[in-house]
C-alpha cells in the first residue's frame, strides 16, 4: 500500500532539502547549535518521509538494509577509532590530538566572542561526522524493520 500521488510528489520534492539541512547541522556542529546526534536525526527524518510515502517493495528496491547496517557500524568504529588514534600517538584515550596542531581542523581560535572558522576544533568534526552517520543509519533501519514487519503481517 502506498500513499497518494500528492504525498509521493511532496516527499520527492522535500527530501533533498532535508538531507542537505541535516548535513549542514552535522558539519557545523562545532560552530552552531546542533551536532552529530541532532543532524543525524534530521537526516533520518528525511529518509522516514520517503519510507512512509512509498510501498514496501519500492522502498526495498530503493534502500538497501546492508548499506545502512554498514553505515551504523562504521560510524561507531570511526568514533572509537578517533579516540584510539590518540592512544597510538601517546596521549590519553579521547584526548583531542588534532586541536591547535595546524593540520586538518587544527586552527586555533581567538578568545572572546567571534563568528568562528570551519577549520577549527581538532577531532570534534570527525566525531560529529561519525555520530551523525551512526544515528542516520540506526534510526532509518529501525523504521525500515518496523515497516517490513508490518507489511508482512497485515497488508
Amino acid at each position: 500500500m502506498r500513499m497518494s500521488k500528492i504525498v509521493r510528489t511532496g516527499s520527492d520534492l522535500m527530501y533533498p532539502f532535508i538531507f542537505i539541512f541535516g548535513w549542514y547541522v552535522i558539519m557545523h556542529g562545532h560552530l552552531t547549535p546542533g551536532g552529530g546526534f541532532q543532524g543525524g536525526a534530521v537526516v533520518a527524518t528525511g529518509a522516514a518521509l520517503v519510507i512512509v510515502a512509498y510501498s514496501y517493495q519500492e522502498v526495498n528496491a530503493m534502500i538497501k538494509k546492508a548499506i545502512l547496517m554498514f553505515q551504523e557500524s562504521g560510524g561507531l568504529v570511526l568514533f572509537i577509532g578517533a579516540g584510539l588514534a590518540g592512544m597510538i600517538l601517546g596521549f590519553p584515550f579521547f584526548y583531542n590530538w588534532l586541536a591547535n596542531s595546524g593540520s586538518l581542523f587544527g586552527m586555533s581560535v581567538i578568545p572572546g566572542p567571534n563568528p568562528g572558522e570551519l577549520n577549527t576544533a581538532g577531532f570534534l568534526p570527525l566525531m560529529n561526522i561519525a555520530v551523525g552517520t551512526e544515528v542516520w543509519g540506526g534510526l532509518t533501519i529501525v523504521i525500515l524493520y518496523m515497516l517490513s514487519g508490518v507489511e508482512k503481517e497485515g497488508i
Binding site: G29, H30, L31, T32, P33, G35, G36, F37, M69, E72, S73, G75, L76, F79, I80, G83, F94, N96, A99, N100, G106, M107, S108, V109, P111, G112, N114, P115, G116, T120, A121, G122, L124, M127, N128, V131, E134, V135, G138, L139, I141, V142, Y145, M146, S148, G149, K152, E153
Partner: protein, 89 residues
C-alpha cells in the same frame, strides 16, 4: 462522586506544581565552578566556539560513547525482533 474526587486530586496536583514553579529561577545554578572552568578554558584548549559541543564530545566524551553504544544496541534489538517477520522473500 468518583468524578469529583478525580477533579479535586487533579486540582491539588496542578496547584502543587504551580507553587513549585512560581519562584523557580532558570539559569542560576548554586555551584558553577565546572561551568566557569569550561567557559574560560574551552576556547584555548579545544579551539572551539561552541561550548556545548566541547563539553559533549571532549570533556565528557565517555558519555557520548555510552550514548552511541546504547543506540547501537537498541537498533540491534529491533533488528533481531523484526527479522523473523521480514524474511521469506
Amino acid at each position: 462522586m468518583k468524578k469529583y474526587l478525580a477533579v479535586i486530586v487533579i486540582l491539588i496536583i496542578t496547584s502543587f506544581m504551580f507553587i513549585i514553579g512560581i519562584d523557580f529561577v532558570f539559569g542560576a545554578p548554586a555551584n558553577s565552578d565546572m561551568d566557569d572552568y569550561f567557559i574560560e578554558h574551552g576556547q584555548e584548549q579545544i579551539a572551539t566556539n561552541n561550548i556545548v559541543t566541547t563539553v559533549v564530545f571532549d570533556y565528557r566524551g565517555f558519555d557520548t560513547l555510552g550514548e552511541s553504544t546504547v543506540l547501537f544496541t537498541a537498533v540491534i534489538g529491533v533488528a533481531m525482533m523484526f527479522r523473523k517477520l521480514g524474511e521469506g522473500d
